[in-house]
Symmetry: C2
Subunit: 390 residues, 2 copies
């Protein structure tokens, strides 16, 4: 394992162990791939058993071939007590588990296997810990954002007259994959299904979706009602591109809007308001800023410009203007009216003030930023104006 | 809603209501997208409340715009008791929930909201119900398999000398998307992460993976250790293609193997054993056949041909030779040595006897079949011999 990963891993583990001690838990069990990767730099089917102090123990079901004194192979969770006993470790009475991510039946089985300890939450703690990034992680995000920007620069070359939104998306997906996109769009939560990102044109941007993204779209199938729906890209409408920035495990999030031919003035005006909101947030959002205040600033600017009715949608309006980003596309904090969260140095956030204009489509931008002591550092550096495609 | 979907929906609901009555449950709450789509033909963020008799009630959080007497909009599960009371419906004492798919915290919150009813399992019941398909569903699978086969026929045209496995995969992904692939690879369970399918060449086929698929592969990232890893496609090795058949909500599963230039005789021999195993299973697998017996037949044929050591992997060997397929790629039944399941008319299964040959790569085929009274109907009709790429 390379020295950087080892050092990172050790620092992350320390932060989790501090949380375990503060919560007076006896142990924490980690089995989701995102959190395993965060703590170890690799993933497996099984559990990382973390105690308040000392090295973690790995209880591995698969793959074969993981070696070390701290590794035990198991077939099922019911073997955990025996293996803990062999290692002279006490059965924990209070255990943190990833209860927001693991299925009910998996947690219930684990609890029974461990002799019914008190269950505590590991999901929220891990998300809180992951929300403040190390310099290594932030550098990964900058690298990712640079590739993200280079891929978006291909967009004018991909566009062809008469294309549908999905035909455009397929060619962009190919560029993304060639640039190293993992394909997988890592999200948190139950209602976040999407494939590689969202392309919205015309009135499809008004379609309400069951998912918890900023905007919707009808999609191509009733089983995946989000994004492109086969609409032709026609002059006078806009094309909003919000595709995944998954070129590194730590991701970037970026939206740009394009004009198909000439679009009405209102589209340019609303788009500029989005740019202005991002600028205003970048100037005031800094370590210590309130996430609710940031949302309210955006909402107020939308209202003053007469755009409240189309801010973050029309028929269905998302009640946030941004969110943390990292190993998952939606991490803490959330920039929402009732958020109690405060920006901290080292957080990474995506800000996405968007407007949906009936008869035209969605406009606006999204940038990813790193929270610094004295402001936000923009990492998604790519033309923000509405570029015309023809 | 079209008449076919309405009739299908009503039949599926009846089968669930029969299960609710047999289990003496008071109600069943369905909130995963696959099961919502199965019961209604569309999905939403919220709950389908199904009672032993009568029409279901939809408690919807999102999207806006779902109308009807049977629809109530809610903000959170804590409102369910009030809304049930308004509809003069009793609070259920025994409730079936999708406990294998919903997060622990979501189920726990729901249980508290409903006054702590006894929780019963809906996940397994729904998977059992879905495993026997209607003629409409089977026709969807045949259509899907035909497109799947047409896409695989492009493979010799996609191949170029000097390509890596991932470069090949990216071009194939594009063909899949142009042919209508939804992109999303729907799986069941905690350890089934994958992007659009698996491409394996050379010794990457030996890499053990944490996931519960037939074969592994190192992948391109430690966060997604499965499939292609950037290996060059070189003469004398094989290329195994097992990409998603997701051209309809009801899917097909199919693997074909290609020879890069000329491959050693053992590769052709082992590949032919895979074809022979599929033929033997197709001849004996029929309604009433034991899934364990089918596995044992495959394993015995592998052993007799001296291929036991490379059957379903080398360092890590999968302990199944096939599985049901439908809205998810891994449905009941499973063709495994200790399976107690019996084939039923209308089930759809994928059979994938595969061999991994060190220094060469993976060989073998996978077909999808429909279970009939007197045998298996093959739906993945596409050249099975190892076609050479050059």
């Amino acid at each position: 394992m390379n020295a950087t990963i080892k050092r990172e891993s050790s620092q992350r583990l320390s932060r989790l162990q501090q949380a375990i001690r503060e919560l007076q838990a006896d142990a924490c069990l980690i089995s989701t791939s995102v959190n395993q990767f965060y703590l170890l730099g690799f993933i497996f089917d099984g559990y990382i058993f973390v105690q308040p102090d000392g090295d973690p123990v790995l209880f591995v079901k698969r793959p074969s071939g993981i070696t070390g004194d701290h590794v035990s192979y198991i077939r099922k969770p019911e073997q955990l007590p025996d293996f803990l006993r062999q290692r002279k470790l006490a059965l924990p009475g209070r255990v943190m588990v990833e209860r927001d991510a693991l299925p009910y039946s998996a947690v219930a089985r684990l609890q029974t296997a461990l002799g019914m300890p008190e269950l505590m939450d590991a999901s929220g703690e891990m998300r809180r810990i992951r929300s403040v990034k190390s310099e290594y992680e932030l550098e990964q995000m900058r690298e990712c954002a640079n590739i993200h920007a280079a891929v978006y620069q291909q967009i004018p070359h991909i566009y062809r007259d008469g294309m549908t939104d999905i035909e455009f998306q397929i060619e962009l997906e190919r560029e993304m994959r060639l640039a190293g996109s993992s394909g997988i769009f890592r999200t948190f939560g139950e209602n976040m299904d999407i494939f590689m990102g969202s392309i919205l044109t015309g009135d499809n941007a008004q379609s309400a979706s069951p998912f918890d993204f900023a905007l919707g779209g009808q999609g191509l199938s009733p089983l995946l009602p989000i994004g492109a729906n086969g609409t032709k890209l026609i002059p006078g409408t806009t094309l909003m591109v919000d595709m995944a920035g998954n070129y590194r495990p730590w991701m970037s999030d970026m939206t740009r809007t394009f004009a198909i031919g000439t679009v009405p003035d209102i589209a340019h005006k609303a788009h500029q308001v989005s740019i202005d909101i991002c600028k205003a947030i970048a100037a005031t959002g800094q370590s210590g800023a309130s996430c609710a205040d940031i949302y309210l600033l955006a909402e107020e600017m939308a209202r003053k410009n007469g755009l409240a009715g189309c801010f973050m949608g029309t028929k269905q309006q998302a009640k946030f203007v941004g969110h943390g980003v990292g190993l998952e596309i939606n991490e803490p904090p959330v920039l929402a009216p009732r958020s109690k969260e405060i920006l901290e140095t080292g957080m990474a956030i995506a800000v996405e003030p968007k407007f949906v204009l009936p008869g035209i489509g969605a406009v606006g931008i999204e940038n990813s930023y790193i929270v610094r002591e004295n402001g936000l550092e923009k990492i998604t550096c790519c033309e923000e104006k509405m570029v015309a495609l023809s």
